[in-house]
Symmetry: C2
Subunit: 203 residues, 2 copies
Amino acid sequence: MTNKGLLLVLSGPSGAGKGTVVKRLLQTDPRIRLSVSATTRAPRPGEADGREYRFLSRDRFLEMVRSGEMLEHAEYCGNCYGTPLRPILDWTSKGFDVVLEIEVQGGAQVKAKRPDAVGIFILPPSLAELERRLRSRGTEPDGTVRKRLAAARGEMERARGYDYLVVNDDVDSAVGRIRGIIAAEKNSSRRNAGLIERILSQT
Amino acid sequence: MTNKGLLLVLSGPSGAGKGTVVKRLLQTDPRIRLSVSATTRAPRPGEADGREYRFLSRDRFLEMVRSGEMLEHAEYCGNCYGTPLRPILDWTSKGFDVVLEIEVQGGAQVKAKRPDAVGIFILPPSLAELERRLRSRGTEPDGTVRKRLAAARGEMERARGYDYLVVNDDVDSAVGRIRGIIAAEKNSSRRNAGLIERILSQT
């Protein structure tokens, strides 16, 4: 089994419960780390640099993009968001698995640059359940829920290219399946090239 | 997650602990079945038809080969051995995973006919450990152990084409990894074609 950490790309529509799944995954396995995105937007009250985001100046952000230090990046509402490559390389080389929680366009950029990344798309059991979850957050007006449902549909329609589809019917089951995926990938032949030769050449 | 059972092809050299791993796997998961091979050799004392083997006449065996009812087959010491296809189709369609314990040539035949089969190759942690395990069986003369070691080398050299390599350093760990592989495969995108469309088309 390879002792190199995996890069896990986790995506899924709002309401699929991605955040809860990631949180539980990090709690159950100390060998998993969460990638912290970089952004040019200003910190909000209570946000700490390096925890919610790495807060960067626009100049520094663009410099990192130019020098290949961003694994993926996008502009949204006038602010830049991106995934710094260095921490991912550091953690995975030390054997930690790194989770990247990201929308599908970013996920596609990551897969294009790092074909060895493991793409996992989290799905709601049904659209009715997705709507129920979005409404149960309570405070949002009906129009916002409808917009979010449409956005969720869009995300799901663009989920081609992910290696695994995990239905989040129950958080513990979903986390168990993701842990199964991690174990399987680490034992895959393509991540263990040379293993048999190493065993055979031992004296 | 697909509710169709998987066909698991388990191979590995003598001394890798395949048998123990398979036994523990069957004990820990009631949704796994073991495929029973067919043979034309005579039953030995204590062997029951349908348990150790399905005992068939040579005519019946060859008829099954001709009609495509054998997933793979081979002749060994003048007797035919093979894997009947029908029980595998029955079990997997009912959602049971079926384990086929088989040597590498048979495994390659299965993979060629059923590319959706999951190939798992069980490895010893080292050749020294393999030798220790073969010797600890006790009763065998040195020449036999050397022949078995050479055969094990041969099996390992022909292990290309397996999807997963599982080192059996510890039976429970190895079984845990195989269960991870089963979970991962059932959540793979290629085994769940149409899942997203089904969720999106629900009303």
